[in-house]
């Protein structure tokens, strides 16, 4: 069973395994630096559907199907499904996954949803409440743009601090301890508000949450950046990454050499015109499911922290002049399980 360490961190003593992952991307993501690692790149932004919202649903459906195929499982083998996306009332998940017939939990964690769904899935396995659980999330540039910003055909300039919502979906299946990557510990984040109001600077809104969650994890586990190969944040992009490094340096944690951000991995900022970098649920999910999980499985990455961040606003709250609070959830992913598993097993 899990052990509470410190105030915020939960060690998952059975070390649940991520037994499979799949990532689906759009054209721009496919042309990016890790484009070749996606399981499927769809060059039609509509995914053969009638609307951007249905396109995102179809992308989630494809991601779920792909991960099931890769693990040689059928929907009936999965006991619970944790899913979410950025659209109002998370319709992309609802419409995309309705045909699977898997008991369903809908989540909203903005762009932190991949970490949120993975944490809940791992807890389910750790608590022996299920044998196999799926975590899935997505974002689509076009559906997000028209909901949060402007119609696609509207002529406007993007601020240099703004981020590009990824068209991508990622899905993982979590099961009992069997193979790397193992989920060794999780830290659930609190909602953090540092008075940021600029809709075009999400990285700045989310960096304080990432900093707090990472700091709490280090304090709880008595570890530091040197204990990990990689500290991977979800979608802070360039502005948020710089701020995170500075915030943590003030706490005497120098993460510069270990830190990477999915928003900076997914696109080439030099040639792909994404301003500060990528964002969206699909950004963290796509990078994790295509590039990171296989790298841990092959032993290229041994111990890492996956910290997906979300900006918790809505178009209404922004128009009413409210702040943009952020959140960050953390998972310690590793190529080796927690020692207790080897000693005591599941007895």
């Amino acid at each position: 069973m899990s052990t509470k360490i410190g105030k915020y961190t939960l060690r998952l003593d059975t070390s649940p395994s991520i037994i499979g992952s799949a990532a689906i991307g759009g054209k721009k993501e496919g042309e990016g630096p890790i484009g070749k690692m996606f399981d499927l790149v769809n060059y039609d932004a509509l995914f053969g559907q009638k609307s951007w919202e249905l396109a995102e649903s179809e992308m989630q459906r494809q991601a779920a199907q792909k991960v099931l195929d890769k693990c040689s499982l059928s929907p009936g083998d999965i006991q619970y499904l944790f899913a979410g996306d950025l659209l109002n009332q998370i319709v992309a998940s609802h419409y995309g996954l309705r045909e699977l017939g898997i008991p369903f939990f809908g989540l909203y964690g903005a762009c932190s949803t991949m970490a949120e769904s993975l944490i809940l899935s791992s807890m389910m396995i750790e608590g022996e409440l299920a044998k196999k659980v799926m975590a899935i999330t997505s974002s689509h540039f076009c559906s997000a743009e028209r909901q949060f910003r402007f119609p696609l055909e509207y002529g406007g300039q993007r601020a240099p601090t703004s981020q590009w919502t990824a068209t991508a979906a990622g899905a993982c299946i979590v099961a009992e301890n069997s193979q790397p990557p193992y989920v060794k510990a999780v830290t659930v984040g609190c909602i953090e508000d540092k008075d940021i109001k600029d809709l075009n600077n999400m990285g700045a809104a989310m960096a304080p949450a990432a900093s707090t969650t990472i700091k709490r994890y280090f304090q709880d586990t008595l570890t530091g950046p040197d204990n990990y190969d990689l500290i991977l944040t979800g979608d802070l992009a360039q502005v948020g990454s710089d701020l995170l490094a500075e915030l943590l340096l003030r706490e005497d944690y120098d993460i510069k050499k270990k830190h990477a951000d999915c928003g900076l991995i997914l696109y080439d900022r030099g040639t792909q015109d994404v301003e500060a970098g990528g964002s969206g649920c699909g950004c963290a999910a796509g990078v994790l499911c295509s590039y990171i999980i296989p790298a841990i499985r092959e032993g290229k990455i041994k111990d890492m922290l996956f910290v997906a961040t979300g900006a918790l606003m809505s178009p209404v709250s922004v128009q009413q002049g409210q702040n943009i609070p952020g959140i960050a959830h953390l998972l310690h992913l590793s190529s080796t399980p927690n020692p207790t598993t080897q000693q005591g097993g599941n007895a």
Partner: protein, 148 residues
């Protein structure tokens, strides 16, 4: 625990955020905006040379530009131009037409009435509201003080 206050974080954010490339943006706005207006002027001259009276040639030129803007918006050209032109494509009447056409086209997926018809004004609506309201206020002042 909290060593960084909201105020000091605000300073950090300002330092970390790259500024807009204003010199480039403003020159591009000047060039693109100037070019659109020059095209408008050429249209006015063209219509007047065809014998159209001046008070009709001016609105006719505006209408022609509005037509071109609606067309280029539909062809996905206007937003690409706006990426470079900035306010140069926003401030001329073509920007107004783009602000009407873009949501109409984008929200067609929600139907012709509540989608295209209603959402057409989500960006440009305020321009009409405050323009007309200012005109009525002006008219009432004119009437009350018999200034006309």
């Amino acid at each position: 625990m909290e060593t960084v206050t909201n105020q000091s974080y605000d300073q950090m954010v300002k330092k970390a955020s790259p500024p807009s490339k204003s010199a480039r943006n403003i020159s591009m706005a000047f060039l693109v905006g100037g070019a659109i207006c020059t095209l408008g002027h050429a249209l006015i001259r063209l219509y007047m040379s065809m014998g159209v009276p001046e008070e009709t040639a001016f609105p006719a030129a505006s209408i022609t530009l509005v037509f071109l803007s609606a067309l280029f918006t539909g062809l996905n050209i206007y937003d690409k131009l706006a990426k470079w032109g900035g306010a140069g494509t926003l401030v001329p009447i073509t920007g107004f037409a783009n602000a009407i056409t873009a949501p109409a086209l984008e929200f067609k997926s929600e139907g012709y009435i509540m989608g295209l018809g209603a959402k057409m004004f989500i960006i440009a609506g305020p321009v009409i509201v405050y323009g007309i309201a200012a005109g009525v206020v002006y008219g009432v002042i004119l009437y009350l003080f018999q200034l006309y």
